[in-house]
Symmetry: C2
Subunit: 418 residues, 2 copies
């Protein structure tokens, strides 16, 4: 069987399983999730053995320690996966929820009911725990999922998939509800992306090159974000203690992630005081500043920013800083250089807070809080399968609800159209 045939067969089976999943009671889905959690704990030895093969190969290939760390299935990572599964099991079932219902003049009762999307293709890199997270969210939301993991994690992923399969069987759920493409052949990804008759949506998670490859080669709709060039705008009426605290958190708490601040915009009326202050505090945390000429005048340690800095996602302890002459210039800067991901304003002014919330066209817009809160868990979605920075279907972090659609249900008494 060619890799294309293999992928097609997995997708066909997934589509068949999706039909069963779409009407499955919550209890049965939750039972499978709890089965997987239990199996992760009882079969941890088996998982770690498989993981050792991946780790040995990774060391042989000279992967960085950071990569090897992300690849490792330690007891702590395994316990985290099991905990995550139990949390997803405890979340409400999004499927079947009727989000509204109204009566028409002719007596028809019309409602909208949540339904699963169908079959999800999930393409990801490196961390094997993502295999379990993605399977859990898709299963809970009544979707079948085809998983395509990175080649570095193939042995770990195969062991996890076997364990998931057994857990599904024990809950009397078709095992095709969760399937892993059991090969590292890159052609499998290409084949998956052409299954538009069988797969409803593709979600890639990984570096920008993976995501661009998926977006450019998929004939299936893709939910994705390329990058997060997140801004904090410190208004002239900001509480400067709060502003400093938010800037330090947004830049330094975890600089390598998509919701970290990459550009700081400061109102000129407070720049003389705030830029040196926040600059020193950031530099004390190891942050390098690339500033506009006013910033460089105020902070001699800053290096001059070039036009390339404004749209840059550093994912590092580097920050672009620009002094703006007011809110309009801040909004224009964000519209020109932002990535529609996450922007925050720090202000005590009611009117400007309101205006920023309305005018900024990003998936998460915050007043007086760190950009780091753009996260499904932090915003209260319960769990997150990814972030979407295009506005179609979902904008921002995607939880269980975002893995569903809605159909119209209509209750009649024999009505016909005039």
């Amino acid at each position: 069987m060619s890799v294309e045939q293999l992928v097609e067969e997995l997708c066909k089976n997934a589509k068949w399983a999706a039909r069963a999943l779409s009407v499955m009671p919550r209890g049965q889905k939750d039972k499978a999730l709890l089965n997987i959690a239990q199996a992760l704990e009882s079969r941890a030895g088996e998982l770690k053995d498989a993981n050792q093969k991946d780790l040995a190969a990774a060391r042989g290939a000279g992967l960085s320690e950071a990569m090897i760390d992300r690849l490792t299935l330690s007891d702590k990572v395994i316990a985290g996966m099991a905990q995550g599964l139990r949390e997803v099991a405890a979340l409400p079932d999004p499927v079947g929820e009727v989000t509204g219902m109204w009566r028409r003049p002719n007596g028809l009762l019309v409602g909208r009911q949540r339904i699963p999307l169908g079959v999800i293709g999930f393409i990801y890199e490196s961390r094997p725990n993502v295999t379990v997270d993605a399977a859990a969210l898709c299963l809970k939301s009544g979707n079948a999922v085809i998983l395509k993991g990175g080649k570095e994690a193939i042995n770990s992923n195969l062991a996890l998939a076997a364990l998931i399969r057994d857990s599904l069987e024990a809950a009397r759920i078709p095992t095709a509800a969760v399937s892993l493409i059991p090969t590292t052949d890159r052609a499998a990804t290409g084949a998956l992306l052409k299954m538009d008759e069988l797969v409803d949506v593709v979600i890639p998670r990984g570096g920008e090159s993976l995501i661009r490859y998926v977006a450019e080669n998929s004939s299936i709709p893709v939910l994705k974000h390329y990058k997060g060039v997140c801004h904090v705008y410190v208004d002239k009426d900001a509480d400067q203690d709060m502003a400093e605290n938010i800037c330090i958190n947004a830049k330094c708490q975890r600089p390598g992630v998509c919701n970290a601040m990459e550009t700081l915009l400061v109102h000129q009326d407070i720049a003389g005081e705030f830029v040196p202050r926040v600059g020193k505090a950031l530099m004390a945390q190891g942050v390098k500043i690339r500033g506009c000429h006013q910033t460089c005048d105020l902070l001699i340690e800053a290096n001059p920013a070039t036009d390339d800095d404004w749209p840059m996602e550093y994912l590092d302890l580097i920050l672009a800083v620009r002094v703006v002459d007011g809110m309009d210039q801040a909004l224009d800067h964000i519209a020109a250089h932002g990535s529609q991901h996450t922007e925050a304003i720090v202000t005590r002014d009611y009117q400007r807070a309101r205006r920023f919330l309305n005018a900024v066209d990003s998936s998460v817009v915050l007043v007086n809080a760190s950009t780091r809160f753009n996260d499904g868990g932090q915003l209260g979605l319960g769990a997150e399968i990814g972030i979407n920075t295009s506005k179609l279907h979902a904008f921002g972090p995607m939880g269980l609800t975002e893995l569903t659609s809605q159909k119209f249900i209509v209750f009649g008494d024999g009505q016909v159209r005039e």
Copy 2:
């Protein structure tokens, strides 16, 4: 300027206009809609003159009378457009609605607020009144729109676009909010479909070949439906008077549209009585029956159906009829041959009504009502820009709400992430 450059310039201007539209108060948008309505009436002569050029060209090209009828801007069509605009103006503004808000343990208040999608590419055929309908829905929902109409209607569309432009100006709205591609060059459509950096979504409306062309050539997400193969399942416990009435309405009231019934499924327990009865009633309306062998046994006027009939969208007074051995077979038939558009059950049985509603994976599922109700106006959405039969973003008829997305808004008091 090449056609590609022309299209790119229109899209750039539209993107700029979209930013202004996204925060525009409802009153200003409604004023523009009412201006257009008034201009349609006061400048009807100008419109009819332009329309005459299209009609003369259509007659010269030997277009069918039906096509010429659809192309004609009569006083009645013009009055209908003006009425439609006033109805859209009266609808609530979807933009700015906060659909939910909740407090997090750390005190953050998190909500979701409706926002426009941005720039919509709308590609359509023949009827010039669609120009006004689409412009109205996009404008009301705060989106800029690029219109690409059919070549048959170019003069009518140019006249409508000029009138819309003047009406926008009078309401102090950037005229780039609604632009018509002012050429019949087919290359313009191809160019529009590649503007993924500037256009957020494409909606095609027309025949299947137009829609396939758009879907296959667009690098922008597309909201579309190919066809409606709609089923009515008459259960063994159906009220046969009601079932007959629904079948006649679903098939005959307007056979050429996507929500007309194309296949009738009848439970075997009542087939002996119902198939001859409904068959005669349908034939009296001019319907030709293509039946399974049981149907043909019961109704000698029926012709045998082949495998090609079951997935067929006739758009005509032709109906496929199959006798099924029960609800499971009906559900399997719909899953195998349906188009996820519209399906109805006729039954008096509570449990089977519930099961049908849950199990059928279509954008509109009805109990005891005609499939013809799959329509934005009929379902209470106020107006409709199209129907989507993929589940991403919107499933079924799309009204103003479906032309929006939601962003997260977060109110903090200095919160940072631990």
